[in-house]
């Protein structure tokens, strides 16, 4: 009986294949996600109290929809980096669940490079599906395109990633790897594939606005399944002859695109986003088991000892917001060292807890530095540094989070003077600051864009034009370092691991005077 069923299935598949070849219709379904970033569990988005997402719920929906039509499940990139559930395992957890969900293909996103080339190669080798990257040179493990057959229709899927990867990840992550123009690349492959296939799908990690330009400029693309801009394209849009879709972010939605093909053309399409709502009992049990397994492993990783503190590290709210503390100094020193800056300025409000003397565990660093911030270094004049420090001490009465913790400089201030005129005697490396001279100042992305009211960095960014990649690192007139692929807390974890023991001091970098 089983043999008979299998034979019947093959006969039906053969007939479908034959019928499409004979000019009849074929109906296929594309299911898609993008920018998952390891958000395996339901979460509350910023500004909302509603729990959304949850990959086990999304996976159950995939299975339900797969039963209705022959389907592909595709990912438009940025899957393995972001949330701790992914980062603590360098994305291994995500690949395991993607294998369980039987993805057909994914394109590499810019954040897939954040753990370095060796980790990426390992992740790709673990995947039971091809990982695409047509415009990536120097990484042989990636495939430019695949041709899949569904209901007799031959479908090419070409993968494209933003050519801006070198400005969004550290150069150590992409040695010898080049990213060419998505436009030129896809043009070349469309020419090569258009006579060999019935339909061309571009799996794109270049962002929705650029997808639209691609559709306008390159003829012959039937569908663009997009990512990178985290865009909620609720209904497929058509630009020229190309259908464009994108499914928001973090597994909050599953994209569905139904296509009817006839004589090698799409004669009908419709689609929507199925938003993921966590409803107990509606999970895919196998995917849920993977989520739970890594959750337990996360606890073990977070409890791992990374080094030892010979002193209590002071991150108390009442201290980091009104005076120099040894933990503030320690973190500011790391920023300065890592980015090879002259000085570092961070906001005390970014430090959320102390770490007790003794063994330092990963979770203590994560608790002290809970925000997803990364290191940026910008050239500021001495005058701008002084202005930044004035701003930093201007909210001391209210214990505002802007109070500066610094490295590479010392200063005195009087909280009794009026706001804006409190700072005295700023020294950089022991010498009086030159107001007109430029110094490299390390900070994090939040302050760099003017968070906590720090205008000086924002002004420097405004005047920093003509960004380019020099020596593998993004450089502008004013910006000398930016590593958006590594959270500050992870940099601190690595730093402590390397040092083993730490004993930072509050050593008089910031002095209150009358």
């Amino acid at each position: 009986m089983k043999r008979l069923s299998i034979a019947l299935c093959y006969t039906l598949l053969f007939l479908f294949s034959l019928s499409f070849a004979n000019g009849e219709q074929a109906e296929i379904r594309i299911l898609h996600v993008n920018d998952f970033h390891g958000f395996a569990e339901p979460y509350k988005p910023f500004g909302s109290n509603e729990r959304v997402g949850g990959i086990a719920y999304l996976a159950a929906k995939v299975e339900e929809l797969r039963k209705e039509k022959p389907s592909f499940l595709l990912s438009a990139g940025d899957m393995i980096q972001g949330n701790n559930w992914a980062n603590l395992f360098q994305g291994e957890s995500v690949i395991e669940l993607m294998n369980e969900m039987r993805f057909d293909a994914m394109v590499v996103g810019n954040h897939e490079f954040d753990f370095g080339p060796e980790v990426l190669k390992k992740r790709v080798s673990e995947a039971n599906f091809p990982v695409l990257g047509a415009n990536v040179e120097g990484l042989k493990i990636l495939t430019p395109y695949i041709i899949k057959e569904l209901r007799g229709a031959k479908i090419a899927i070409i993968g494209l990633v933003t050519e801006d990867v070198p400005i969004s990840t550290h150069p150590r992550n992409i040695p010898g790897i080049k990213f060419s123009s998505p436009m030129d690349t896809v043009e070349k492959y469309v020419k090569e594939l258009k006579n060999k296939t019935h339909m061309i799908v571009v799996l794109s990690h270049i962002g929705h606005p650029v997808d639209r330009i691609l559709a306008e400029k390159v003829k012959g693309i039937d569908v663009i399944v997009g990512g990178h801009s985290h865009t909620k394209v609720t209904k497929p849009v058509k630009v020229g002859d190309t259908i464009i879709v994108q499914a928001w972010e973090y597994g909050r939605a599953l994209g569905l695109l139904d296509l009817t093909l006839k004589d090698g053309k799409i004669v009908r399409f419709e689609g929507y986003l199925e938003e993921t709502k966590p409803k107990i009992g509606k999970e895919d049990q196998k995917v849920l088991a993977i989520v739970e397994k890594y959750k337990q492993k996360m606890d073990a990783v977070l409890n791992r000892e990374v080094g030892e503190a010979d002193v209590d590290l002071d991150g108390e709210r009442g201290n980091v917001r009104k005076k120099e503390t040894n933990l503030g100094n320690f973190i500011a020193d790391i920023l300065k060292d890592v980015s090879k800056a002259d000085v570092a300025i961070i906001n005390g409000g970014g430090i959320r807890a102390s770490i007790k003397k003794g063994e330092i565990r990963v979770k203590e660093i994560y608790t002290a530095l809970p925000f997803d911030n990364y290191i940026v270094a910008i050239k500021l004049t001495g005058r701008q540094i002084r202005e930044a420090l004035e701003h930093g001490v201007s909210g001391i009465e209210e214990e505002e989070g802007r109070f500066p913790q610094v490295s590479g400089l010392t200063f005195k201030y009087s909280p009794f003077d009026k706001r804006g005129s409190r700072v005295r005697e700023v020294l950089v490396a022991g010498r009086p600051i030159h107001l007109e001279k430029e110094y490299i100042v390390a900070t994090h992305d939040f302050l760099a864009v003017g968070g906590d009211g720090y205008k000086a960095f924002g002004e420097a960014i405004k005047t920093s034009r003509d960004f380019s990649v020099i020596g593998g690192m993004m450089k502008g007139k004013k910006v000398v370092y930016s590593d958006s692929g590594r959270w500050l807390r992870d940099v601190v974890v690595e730093y402590i691991k390397e040092k083993g023991r730490v004993a930072p001091k509050a050593e008089g970098r910031i002095k209150e005077i009358r």
Binding site: F46, G47, H208, H230, Y250, D445, V449, G476
Partner: protein, 60 residues
Amino acid sequence: MKVFINDKAIHVLPDMTVKHALIRAGLLKEIEDSKKVYDEWGNEVGLEGALSEGIKIYVR
């Protein structure tokens, strides 16, 4: 990189996201108060969404 929020020009680094542009424009608080961000075609965009040169986004 120059982007536009509610038709006002904002400068951010090329690898920065919608969230950074909102901080720069002093509008992140509005998202906390339940407003959302949309692109010029009316699609909602996530806070970590990538920006591109000249993009127009709106908070409402």
